[in-house]
Amino acid sequence: MQFSGGKRKKLRLTGDQRTVSYPHSLQFYLEPPSESISLIEFESLAIDRVKLLKTVENLGVSYVKGTEPYRSKLENEIRKLKFSFRENLEDEYEPRRKDHISHFILRLAYCQSEDLRRWFIQQEMDLLRFRFSILPKDKIQNFLKDSHLHFEAIPFADALDLFRGRKVYLEGGFAYVPLRDIVAIVLNEFRAKLSKALALTARSLPAVQSDERLQPLLNHLSHSYTGQDYSTQKNAGKISLDQIDSLSTKSFPPCMRQLHKALRDNHHLRHGGRMQYGLFLKGIGLTLEQALQFWKQEFIRGKMDPDKFDKGYSYNIRHSFGKEGKRTDYTPFSCLKIILTNPPSQGDYHGCPFRHSDPELLKQKLQSYKISPGGIHQILDLVKGSHYQVACQKYFEMIHNVDDCGFSLSHPNQFFFESQRILSGNKDIRKESIQPETPQPKPSVQKAKDASSALACLNSSLEMDMEGLEDYFSE
């Protein structure tokens, strides 16, 4: 893709669409697109693909990959966003082109850090795996042939994991791989290639970023859409320490509410709790000075020596704000991170209550939070099905007394932000020029509380985030 450098130029709007051919409904994205496109299209393609990848991520958490609900929901989303799907669509050119170009745009946005790269590769792989799984057999052969991947015969030394367990047929030193195993090999190849490509892209990024039209766009893409990481201190200083107690019951997600209570009760938290809660507080706007004061006050109540606090704990707090050591500004933990890593043990209060609490204890806790028995029942059902984040959304809906939370929960700070929005009367107004693709959630309608409505929420929340992008779009 060529970007003419230099100052703000009017972009050529001519597209040379028909010279590129897309013989298959899926692709390995080996060749970058070579046409010119408008900034408008650049932006909308990118956003659509981010939406798609976010859906892939959320569905992967809520459902077992490959099962019916997963497949049909993902299919819906792909169709809705008009990406290439199966080969029986009448005009496959546009969706495939969209798929191709949007992938390469996102490479620019997601190559910049290890975390971003990992996320991008994971979702792209899951997407590819899904597309592979719906491809009819004969189409697979054609696709592989055209991709110059040889699966008739692999030298045995390259297929170690397949031949050692006699899972493939060996002859003359070559392994002959059955079709189903090919997917695994293909995906591995894809991952390796994409990983390398992203590393290369990162290296040439400075050239791209020097293009003033693109740089803010790309930055915004990666920050806004991997579900914000809430690391930018936009709200710094907007919270005062004496608000925290009341905020904890009104706007904190259960995980942080529980941590806050444990801290107040015990005047202490262990490391895991300090990390999870401390970073959350930073995300909602506590400054370093406030944080130091907050923790010190509480720990001293626990009869800790102030000097000991200064020597031991204050360093860690400053470290997490990026003021010590390697000066990384640590980002608040996302839901997935809390759910999947560092489970709590005896004496810990961190983790995700929906994931890590015994159902009985969870029930009691929800009762103490005055959640209705019906709501508790629904929540426990969701927990049983491992839909922890959806359960938390349900909690949100119950304590804010809304039918539909209006977002797809992926981050504790998002919970806080959304809660504050509702409580402050939804002051952020949406710009008229952006028409939402889905209708506004109607409070009076009882909707099924499952992932499909979460998806609808996802779209509308991303619509909200597009606000900021408007500023960068000024040609």
Binding site: L160, D161, F163, G165, R166, Y169, L170, E171, G173, F174
Partner: protein
């Protein structure tokens, strides 16, 4: 044949290394055409000397250097190791961590003691003609797989001198294989799993891989004579109880009754097959011969020692080395005549030295420069002993290697030619 007396080894070895050991062919092998610089010079050998003195990291400049050293040290045993990054005899001068094993042939060691749980005639270091068939089957099964499945062309099978066989796979690409791939190959070739505490050691999946079915077909050719006649595995209650331990209890009683009625293992095997191929024993509710095959495999399928094969730096007894306990020479096995190979007819060092003496007496008339005649003698000496046919097998193996190498070089030079 002269009986072998270990006490005579020092003298016998002296003669062997001076007059009989095939240095030229040996060097021709390990030098691999001299295509890679220092390949021979970086090869590790280890010697076991008299009184069990063991020295590693021996290496030699060329054939004549090898000869001189062997004649000087008179090793009881010679092992071959890997080709290293530096001359092994200088490894102490190399910077720590820089001295690395780089290449080696892929080797297999099949030892009769690993079959003690399934052979009734012998145990431990003993072998006899009744159990030697296990080695014959092993060679057939493993060699077929190495050749047909993996495409390996240069495979040298050697009698170890006492109770087992070795295989040296010498293809150029194979010598470069990593430890992980070597392990994978052994895994591919393994079916018998479990030690003393495991009764049933073979478990087949419903879908039979071609390697397994081809191996079973080989075993079928030998099973009746080997297992039912020679080993007589269903001879009496004590022996057939071991096999009943591998089949479901529900059919034990019936089988015991039927066995009592029979007079031979052959007959009992028929009843056994009837009993297990259906009824109470099925693989995933399907009738079939899996259990029958599993028993055959447990009694006949080769058992490999993975540790010998996976390590690139592993040292293995050299072909044409002498076995200090039996006196037998580690000789190549002619694959064309595997079924006829008899370990008890393999020449011992005493027998061939004796043969040599007999020849020398006849040649007494010859005079001339001693060194010259020594060499002349040697080139004809082994030919007149029982060692000759085995060296011929070795030479055929070397011919094939040479041909293959020439073919590769031609291909490479063709590709490099400018047109």
């Amino acid at each position: 044949m002269e009986t072998f007396d270990p006490a005579e080894l020092p003298e016998l070895l002296k003669l062997y290394y001076r007059r009989l050991f095939p240095y030229a062919q040996y060097y021709r092998w390990l030098n691999y055409g001299g295509v890679i610089k220092n390949y021979f010079q970086h090869r590790e050998f280890s010697f076991t000397l008299k009184d069990d003195i063991y020295i590693r990291y021996q290496s030699f400049n060329n054939q004549s250097d090898l000869e001189k050293e062997m004649q000087k040290m008179n090793p009881y045993k010679i092992d071959i190791g890997a080709v290293y990054s530096h001359r092994p005899n200088q490894h102490n001068t190399v910077k720590l961590g820089a001295f690395q094993a780089q290449e080696k042939e892929l080797v297999f060691d099949i030892d009769m003691t690993d079959y003690d749980d399934v052979r009734r005639c012998c145990s431990s270091a003993d072998i006899c003609s009744k159990c030697w068939t296990l080695m014959t089957m092993a060679i057939r099964i493993i060699d077929r797989a190495l050749k047909e499945d993996f495409g390996f062309k240069h495979r040298l099978w050697v009698y170890s001198g006492r109770r087992g066989i070795h295989c040296w796979v010498c293809d150029e690409s194979v010598r470069k294989l990593s430890s992980a791939v070597r392990s994978g190959i052994v895994e591919y070739l393994s079916l018998v799993k479990g030690g003393q505490d495991v009764k049933k050691k073979v478990h087949l999946s419903e879908k039979i891989h071609p390697f397994v079915s081809k191996s079973i077909n080989i075993i079928k050719k030998y099973f009746e004579e080997y297992a039912l006649v020679d080993q007589d595995i269903l001879e009496n209650k004590e022996s057939w109880d071991k096999i009943l331990a591998l089949v479901p209890e529900t059919i034990h009683e019936k089988l015991q009754q039927n066995f009592q009625k029979c007079h031979s293992s052959l007959q009992r095997w028929e009843y056994l097959k009837q009993g297990i191929n259906c009824q109470d024993n099925t693989k995933n509710d399907k009738c079939g011969p899996w259990l029958e095959w599993e028993i055959m495999l447990q009694y006949c399928f080769p058992r490999l020692d993975i540790n010998v094969s996976k390590g690139i730096n592993h040292l293995l007894k050299s072909p044409f080395s002498v076995h200090p306990k039996t006196g037998r020479i580690s000789v190549p096995i002619d694959l064309q005549k595997v079924d006829q190979f008899d370990p008890f007819t393999v020449p011992t060092i005493s027998s061939i030295c004796h043969e040599l003496d007999a020849i020398s007496i006849n040649d007494e008339g010859r005079e001339g420069n001693e060194a010259e005649s020594d060499i002349k003698h040697r080139t004809r000496d082994y030919k007149k002993t029982s060692l000759a046919p085995y060296i011929k097998v070795f030479e055929q193996f070397l011919e094939k290697l040479d041909k293959s190498r020439k073919g590769e070089l031609l291909k490479k030079s063709d590709l490099q030619k400018d047109f």
